[in-house]
Symmetry: C2
């Protein structure tokens, strides 16, 4: 196992909101050391907080100098390319969040890791990530039950983008909002037949171009199939200034609720809630904790990982923490 006195050397690939959050979290951690930030852009153009920017074409020069690389590519498309590319060089951590493609991405990463003797943890963060972990543990303890996940109140980038593509829209942001009464039903174990509409509603704040037909824009939003039609959707028109002033944060969060009965019949419920002031900052914090775990998994110890791809489901939780196991048992058990 990684000795606490030799810092874990971390590199970051990609320098958007997530990359910056990981940089700040790694810098704040006493047992982690920032080595480099890899970028596709001109490294000279990057205003990093602490670490040197290095062009991604030079990443291979860092093999042997980096214990784990956090892949902070801006989208699922980036990661599907960058994941295998980096896992051939380094132990990696990513927050691949296309749920439907996870099994296939896992197989690809597992193959690359096995061939290159690296360890990668895919799909960490909060969902997938912490929420997944809660769903798994809750199901393991209460096998007879029902799990419901709620998201929000928080910004959905995909829904915001969909509004921005409408003619006459100059800016937009969309908040996904869980319906409180649905949470109450989930805690009773009675959320199984809730429709999408009964679980979440959607709040849209839109900047319309001058002279644009607001009624038409509103109608196009609320009737948009899949994105908005299945939900109760409110549309409020605001100014560009209000959008910049009131909606610059990226709050998010949500709930994982499992309710069920134990074998002798008692009703039991498990409820995990996140209220996040900043989605990318929190995701970055979880990616950072996972970097620590991956470096230690790869370095060996009692529970040494073979080369391969893993998820939060496979990580002994103690590996997320900088503190020695005996201290964790004394203070947190």
């Amino acid at each position: 196992m990684q000795e606490s006195n030799s810092p874990i050397r971390v590199a970051i690939n990609g320098y958007g909101n997530l990359g910056r959050a990981v940089e700040a979290a790694v810098h704040a951690a006493p047992d982690l050391e920032l080595v480099a930030i890899f970028t596709r852009r001109d490294p000279q153009s990057l205003q990093t907080l602490f670490a040197p920017a290095v062009h991604v074409d030079q990443a291979a020069d860092y093999v042997g100098k980096v214990d784990v690389c956090a892949l902070c590519g801006g989208s699922a498309t980036d990661l599907q390319t960058q994941g295998p590319q980096f896992a051939a060089l380094f132990n990696t951590v990513d927050s691949f969040d296309n749920h439907a493609l996870i099994p296939q991405y896992f197989e690809t990463m597992n193959e690359v890791c096995t061939q290159n003797s690296t360890v990668s943890v895919i799909s960490t963060g909060w969902d997938p990530g912490l929420f997944s972990l809660q769903r798994l543990i809750a199901q393991a303890v209460l096998p007879q039950g029902q799990t419901t996940t709620f998201w929000g109140r928080g910004v959905s980038q995909g829904h915001s983008d969909a509004i921005r593509r409408i003619d006459g829209v100059e800016g937009a942001i969309q908040y996904t909002v869980p319906v409180q009464s649905a949470k109450a039903r989930a805690l009773e174990g009675e959320a199984g037949d809730l429709s999408a509409r009964q679980k979440h509603r959607r709040e849209c704040f839109v900047v319309a171009a001058e002279g644009a037909d607001r009624d038409r824009i509103r109608e196009q939003i609320v009737t948009m199939p899949n994105y908005f039609e299945p939900y109760d959707t409110t549309v409020e028109f605001i100014s560009a200034e209000e959008l910049a002033r009131d909606h610059a944060q990226m709050p998010h969060g949500g709930d994982v609720i499992r309710a069920g009965t134990t074998a002798q019949g008692a009703h039991q419920s498990i409820h995990f809630n996140l209220a996040l002031g900043s989605n990318p900052q929190f995701t970055g914090a979880m990616v950072t904790a996972t970097c620590r775990a991956v470096a230690r998994l790869a370095a060996g110890g009692e529970l040494r990982a073979l080369a391969g791809a893993y998820t939060v489901f496979d990580i002994p939780p103690t590996l997320y923490c900088a503190q020695p196991p005996a201290d964790l048992r004394r203070d947190l058990l």
Copy 2:
């Protein structure tokens, strides 16, 4: 790793509320098989639900026939003796819950396991157990923050016993109740200076002997040092019939709340809540899931444990689940 088609063979030591709950949970699990229930009592006298009762003196005959033994001894005193005794024979799981003695108990168990090539997980359940896991993960993700644990509304056996020892008391039950406003403060990260009184209150239901001085009993309760004096305590006198009718369940639960800031300054909160209709049934369910994990840890696989003592902090979460890892990734990640 344990193949899903060869059931994990489980024995239980001790047949109180917890032992019965484990028996029911193991019986309900398709991948677990109940082998025997060890007891200090006359096995003939035990009305088990499904498994044969065997005198504890014959436990050693089951070496090689049991993959893991759930230690359900009725008290911490039992476990301090039974833990090492059984860990010399079997892989074990227990819910040792004397927080102050955990480090010492861990060392003892680790020594016995190492000498006897067994794997033991100590102190599982919900607190210690699931709550510990939440405390650890929350601290790992939000190193700058504050964790607060609330318990209840639920029965405290220790406090109920303390009331029963008062002269003139024929029966009693005590509920620990978290103060809602304190939870709100914890979510804001402002619970650090809350006193015991500000975090929990205590509700006592007491059956007084005929002719007993109720005012004196009430006074003795609310002024009892450590147990009640530091709290706002209410005392209600009820009949023996009411005690039996309204207070036979053992509900419990509570909250682990961590609030803090990520490195770039955003406020974030993590809140885990359990609302348990039956404390022993839920603890038994978690002990059962941990039995599965221990058997698989001991049997080997990608993350094989060396002989020794472990806690929930060390267990790769996937091992709690009967489902294959690929299914878990597809369905829960």
